[in-house]
């Protein structure tokens, strides 16, 4: 039903529909957005699964991500090589996790990855400092940032190792009822 499209095979669209929170129409629209980021690089025919990756700079130029202080980390967390080069699969993955229907656990896992700047599987003080500076655009003084980081870790750290593991982070997220509505990008 609908118009016959030649970008994906039906099986591919079914797979996308089962593995992400998007419908067929939305997948096609996402492909359109991916294509217009680099019309010369991205093929219109994805039936043969072409190996095409867009660099970080192109993806963070999207209006949905452009003003986000964590845009680099977001794109890096959803790329295979960790440097921000995204294939179409990664692109869809990213917006699927950031969509309305993704469950809290999934969002918490990727939020943890995004805020983990030094990629050591812990949110240590340096990670928090970077987060705060990006949030407030360096409005807070050095002293205030240090204090906030200390207090935050003190509040959320459960097993006493002075940094937040994923368990601590998830436990804190479950107490924040607004997490689901703020960690959401509309595409």
């Amino acid at each position: 039903m609908g118009n016959k499209q030649t970008i994906f095979t039906d099986e591919q669209l079914d797979a996308y529909q089962d593995c992400t929170f998007f419908t067929r129409k939305e997948i096609l629209r996402l492909h359109g957005r991916y294509h217009e980021l680099a019309p010369h690089l991205v093929p219109m025919d994805y039936t043969k699964e072409p190996d095409c990756k867009l660099p970080l700079a192109l993806i963070v130029a999207m209006p949905e991500l452009n003003e986000n202080p964590f845009r680099n980390r977001i794109v890096e967390s959803f790329s295979e090589d960790g440097l921000g080069n995204q294939s179409f699969n990664d692109f869809v993955d990213m917006f699927s996790v950031l969509s309305e229907m993704a469950p809290r656990e999934l969002k918490a896992i990727f939020a943890f990855k995004i805020y983990d700047f030094n990629v050591d599987n812990f949110l240590c003080k340096e990670d928090l400092e970077q987060t705060l500076n990006r949030l407030t655009k360096e409005e807070l003084t050095e002293e205030e940032v240090q204090l906030v980081c200390e207090k935050a870790i003190e509040e959320a750290d459960l097993d006493g190792d002075h940094k937040l593991s994923f368990a601590d982070f998830e436990n804190m997220i479950t107490r924040a009822p607004d997490f689901l509505s703020t960690f959401h990008i509309r595409i």
Binding site: L135, A152, E155
Partner: protein, 790 residues
Amino acid sequence: GVHDSFSRLIAEQTQDERDPGYERDPGCERDPGYERDPGYERDPGHERDPGRNRGAILSQYYNRTLQLRMRRQSRPSLRDLPHSSRPSLRGYRVESDFSETDIRRQALVSNLQKLSVSDRVRMLRAMPLSMADKRQLRWAPLSSLLLSSPLGHQTPHIVVLCLISLSLSLSLSLSLWFSFLHSLQLWQLALKRVGGRFGTGVLSYFLFLKTLLFFNLFLFLVTGLFLVLPQAVHPPPAVHPFSGLELLTGGGYFSDSVLYYGYYSDTTLNRDCDNNGSAPSPGGWRGLDCARQGLSYSMPLAYFFTIGTAFFITCIILVFSMSRSFGQSFRVEQSPSLLAMKAFCSWDFKVVKTSSVALMSENIGTQLRELLADVTRNHANQTAGQRLWRLLVHGLAWTICSGSTVACALAVHYLAQHMHAVRHTHTHTDTDTHARARTKSSLNVSAASCGLDADDRLCCCVVCRNLMLKVSLLSVLCFHWLGREATSGLQCWESFVGQELYRFLLMDFIFTLLDTLLGEFLWRLFSEKVLKKSRRPVFDIARNVLELIYGQTLAWLGVLFTPLLPGVQIIKLLLLFYIKMSSVMLNCQAPRKPYRASKMTTVFITLLCFPSFLGASVCVTYTMWSIAPSRACGPFRGLSTMMQAGRLWVEQLRDANPHLTWLATAHSYLVENPLFLFVAAGVFMIIIYFNSQVVGGQRKVIALLQEQIKNEGEDKKFLIRQLQTTHAKKRDTPARRSQQVRHCDDAVTRRGKASFSLPDSDPRYSSTFCNRGNATGRFRLSIQSPAGIW
């Protein structure tokens, strides 16, 4: 728990010691960051190494699918779950038994195969793997599905098959309906713009409007299809000519149209009938001969059942969406980790406009400063005098509000009585205008006195006061209509009530427009031109949502008397959407204080369900059950109550077909008897009570588990330190070793008694690791993943 991991740790350490290439890691002794595995950290690509994380995730999801399958068969009791249920790093450090990623994948694939379709899709979507991996996992189950039967090897009973297929089709159709609604994507671009500029709070108002639109659309379709269309095809002659004033007053041409209850015939509508083409057969209930020969449509029955089913389905949808939003926003309230939450959860990822982003950064910075000041400052600085003053102010505000509410209600009551006594010789617009103007002024007064600070508690106070006012007004009006007008001997009281409700709806719309104009547009002009400030008004979300709920209550009240009222409500909501959207974009600015969007959305949906829908359905049920319909108009003329229509039909069926006597007796016992309703309500309340007890129990378990985690963390720190000191001392003087071990023993057993999880005398605990104080420093703690509590 701690014992298990420690005994394993010791075993590993003694094994490692025998390895000649092993050397002690000095970093461990310096700080209690023992969990940091230096080997793990030194590998820079470990995070980007897909193999390691993927393997862990696969085995974690293997466990989950196993649990899901077990849970689908029987619910495991809490007692069976192991004590050491440390909700640790979700498989990030899981040491699994599988040696290769492929074996893990095979196991996961086979588990996924055995789940149902919806479970499988849900599990796939929730996995934190990349698309390519997920598609690999997905392909294997699909291909093997074609070969194997989905229900296993035994041939199940036919009834079971039927039930399964029925439930499958129901769930499929429900999910299809919701995905259809979602794919409609009405106003998607406009909502995105509003969200991008104002954030989640203002967006939630427009989403609520959209939800209400869908409810009304459903009602309109149902009533339109089953009531309006059949009646419109058989029109009696029009009495009044049409003039434009009808749109405002609801009278004139409209009073004898499909809009009102009075228009609907009480007979069976026939076509291709023997006597006369489209004339209704006389004496409705007896005209069965004609009915059998052509298409017949019993209007009273249709009216009764349509309204009933529409309300029933709306109730189910409302309860379902309320429980869903409640589940999303309900979280165990412990001591709130405010600073951490503010740092990680306050950035609204939807906002894209540069100026809004700058504003949001500024707001977050201010809030963080305030929170820091709160947290570091002493809490006990509010003197008794200050507290007393706050109480006084609150008390004063509440008395003013309640006083004005009571005054309003009394005014409306006496006004209505007066009008009733005068016998409606002139139009009613002034009555309604008076009532509305009075309520509006008192509302604004109460809102002003409550202050504009959108503090959480204060916001709830404002909402409560508005709610109180509206509820009292509506109840006075309902009492007046159902109690007085219905028994007053008016010609067609249902049409009269319908007309009143139509006018109320219209007045509500006009006043909202005026509000928008005065409150937002003129205020912005005033503050820009006269006060020369760039501060625009803030969009008051709570008040606007309450207006929407009030309008929806009127629509639900009026469906029985005015079947086309949902259509009017739809037009009103559409116009309101565009007007509010343009007003917000032009006149308002983003809110300064954070808006607890999910909590307030739950509150609004609950308000829509409980006072609003419940009140409307109670009124409608009461009308149908015990008020006599008017004799001269409407589909139920001549009957003692509207419910009688159903009873007569059942009796008719029984007369026509003697086998259906059981239906008549069932009907008389179930539907006529109010006891059934009480029993149903009782069962419903028992279910609610049961669920709340379950939730309370889970809360207690969560609290206990959190304490256990804290204690285990402290135990771990203490024990590691003891181990380190023992090791250091052992290196220095072998002679003092035995003394240290004894010391260690005492300290440990003392510690053991203090913590929550350790038993009083666990020989393993006290003896094993202290004796193995020669364990050397590189501690790699393997934490077992828990079996998941619920």
